[in-house]
């Protein structure tokens, strides 16, 4: 081992020989490199250090040369241990070793106020071998990344991608590949962002180039690799300017911007597949460089597509509700018009009108109880006949559920029949009663409900002079609306009505 001071000076001469005819002064190169470099011997004593290194460590060459690194910059903590381990690996293996990220405080010279100054470093340790192939020196290239580390904290960014720093990233990747298992702060950040449930991307430059996308973002774009693509390239079919305008504004003004439910068209996965659209809530924050200029955009996105779709469905439901309300009002208007028309006695007309509205309302009640899935035929009958006493009617038939339209129609028909029976028919006499029977049958490729309403032991009835409201309602609703058939007769025994209506295909 040569004298330390000689060793510090000797390499320049040796290198000059190797350099040959170009006569490059490698000593001068060493000194001129803006990146900090230093050389340690096997005992970890300084044998060389370029001015850049002297600058970042706030030490002169005289202070450094001959001194042991851990005497000059003691660190009994984890960082000191990691640095020692790295040197040890180089000495043992003869291979280069990288520390991507190393918090390491250095003593501040007294003239600068003394004390310790927390710094963050990245370092590559490269072995210099002697003639026998053994490690004689370790060359360290270190970069003070304190500013980046602070910026990272300030902006909560996983990392930045601007000129001059991409080599740091390269080192970070090397470090990840290395066996170093230590969880380092940058990795934590990166993992946090990588696995965050929301979409996160970092865009660089005025063209908004993707430099980072997290897992959620990558899933959203169908696993495509969009790193290095401009946003316009990544989503070429998104014609709406909203997204691009927002990004341009953030980059131009340096102010954050957000946009709700912005439509984004996904690129075609395959030519045959239809374009897929999504609606995203975006939040864009500018990323500033050291000089205060905007260098990129930190983008967060939340997929709101399901919400937007739900809103559309809700609008459809509201439209439908509006439609139904209007129809119901028209129905009530019709009942009013036809009940009150030509009625001499306003009080009687009012009672009939209210009873009809109540009948309609009761049929609605039965349906809403089943969530408009249908109503029990028996329930519809009981509702209308119960007021006259259970002994006045007899119901016989299987359990049959009828669809909503049929339920409303039958509810009104039963109301008209019952009130007619109470006014003119079987229910006017003490002994009179109503028998209703029904059943199901399959015919003409469809299931039919057959029902008979038969009044017994009442006064003889005669057909009305001209068809009244009830008669017209029976024909129009059961034949016209439901597509069934009716047979209404005024027998000496009392009124009878035979009804047959088809149930919808698949109705059970």
């Amino acid at each position: 081992m040569s004298d330390l001071r000689d060793a510090a000076l000797a390499p320049a001469a040796a290198w000059r020989d190797v350099a040959g005819p170009a006569h490059v002064d490698f000593r001068a190169v060493f000194d001129a490199i803006p990146s900090p470099y230093m050389v340690l011997d096997r005992e970890l004593r300084y044998v060389a250090a370029n001015p850049a290194y002297q600058g970042v460590t706030m030490r002169s060459l005289d202070e450094l040369l001959g001194g042991k690194i851990f005497d000059l910059f003691p660190n009994e903590g984890e960082s000191g241990w990691r640095l020692r381990q790295s040197f040890q690996r180089v000495l043992e293996t003869g291979a280069a070793d990288t520390i991507a990220y190393l918090p390491y405080a250095i003593p501040r010279p007294d003239e600068r106020g003394g004390g310790l100054e927390q710094r963050y470093w990245t370092a590559v340790h490269t072995p210099l071998l002697d003639e026998r192939g053994e490690v004689a020196f370790i060359v360290q290239n270190t970069v003070d990344v304190t500013e980046i580390a602070r910026l990272r904290r300030a902006t909560s960014l996983p990392f930045r991608m601007v000129h001059g720093e991409s080599d740091l990233l390269q080192r970070a990747r090397e470090a990840e590949r290395a066996k170093e298992q230590l969880l380092d702060e940058a990795d934590d950040f990166r993992r946090l962002f990588q696995q965050a449930p929301g979409m996160i991307a970092v865009l660089s430059g005025p063209e908004h180039v993707y430099t980072f996308v997290n897992d959620a973002c990558r899933r959203f774009v169908g696993g495509r690799d969009i790193i290095g693509l401009r946003v316009r390239e990544a989503f070429p079919e998104t014609d709406g300017q909203a997204l691009f305008d927002l990004l341009d504004q953030v980059y131009r003004t340096g102010s954050p911007r957000s946009g709700e439910a912005i439509r984004v068209v996904m690129p075609e996965q395959a030519p045959a597949e239809p374009l897929q659209e999504a609606f995203i809530d975006f939040s864009f924050a500018p990323i500033f460089g050291p000089d205060g200029e905007v260098t990129g955009i930190f983008a967060q996105g939340t997929d709101r597509t399901d919400g937007v779709r739900a809103q559309e469905r809700q609008q459809l439901l509201l439209d439908e509700l509006n439609h139904r309300v209007k129809n119901t009002l028209a129905t009530v208007q019709s009942i009013a018009t036809q009940t009150l028309r030509g009625q001499a006695d306003p009080e009687a007309a009012r009672a009939v009108f209210v009873a009809r509205i109540v009948a309609l309302s009761q049929a609605h009640n039965l349906l809403s109880r089943s969530n408009w899935a249908g109503a029990e035929l028996r329930d519809l009958l009981v509702q209308e006949l119960t007021p006259y006493g259970p002994e006045r009617f007899r119901l016989s038939g299987p359990v049959v559920r009828v669809p909503p339209r049929a339920a409303l129609a039958l509810g009104m028909v039963f109301h008209e029949l019952a009130t007619n029976a109470a006014k003119h028919g079987a229910l006017t006499s003490e002994r009179g009663r109503v028998e209703v029977g029904w059943g199901l049958r399959d015919a003409e490729g469809c299931r039919w409900l057959s029902l008979s309403w038969r009044e017994r032991d009442g006064p003889g009835v005669a057909p009305p002079g001209r068809p009244g409201f009830g008669t017209r309602l029976i024909r129009m609703s059961l034949e016209g609306e439901l597509g069934g058939s009716t047979d209404l007769r005024f027998e000496p025994e009392g009124l009878t009505l035979a009804v047959s209506i088809p149930l919808p295909p698949g109705w059970r």
């Binding site: 129905t331 019709s334 036809q338 609306e481």
Partner: protein, 133 residues
């Protein structure tokens, strides 16, 4: 009752197809059209029946069509009537924007409607037909 209060074509004696799937509303429409002096074709409450009438080629002077018939749209029937030059009035509980572009010139009858509304819409539809030839 059928009085040409606001002038325009007389509705008396016209064969008017009425399509409306709600029995009670159909009964009211039938009553109004009858009061206006029209011969009501229908009322028709199901789409299949409306198609049968159009298929039969029965002469029609106008039609009042509910847009939503048993959950289906009336536009298939409307298109064929329009081809035949039958003036159309659309009754709907939805807004006018439910109508496809080709029917925007037709009469629109928002529910609930009164007899005067039916009269006005029918006359407007007849006048529009006469203008276009």
């Amino acid at each position: 009752m059928s009085g040409a209060a606001d002038g325009g074509p007389d509705l008396a004696g016209l064969d008017v197809l009425a399509v409306e799937d709600e029995t009670l509303v159909a009964m009211l429409l039938e009553h109004m059209l009858t009061a206006l002096g029209c011969n009501v074709v229908g009322p028709v409450l199901r789409l299949a029946r409306a198609e049968e009438i159009v298929d039969s080629g029965q002469p029609l002077d106008a039609a009042v069509l509910d847009v939503n018939i048993g959950g289906e749209r009336i536009f298939g029937v409307a298109e064929r009537l329009l081809e035949r030059g039958v003036p159309l009035v659309f009754a709907t509980g939805y807004g006018a924007d439910v109508l496809p572009e080709m029917y925007r010139a037709c009469g629109i009858l928002p529910k609930p409607y009164q007899q005067e509304d039916v009269e006005r819409a029918l006359k407007a539809a007849l006048r529009a037909r006469d203008r276009t030839g």
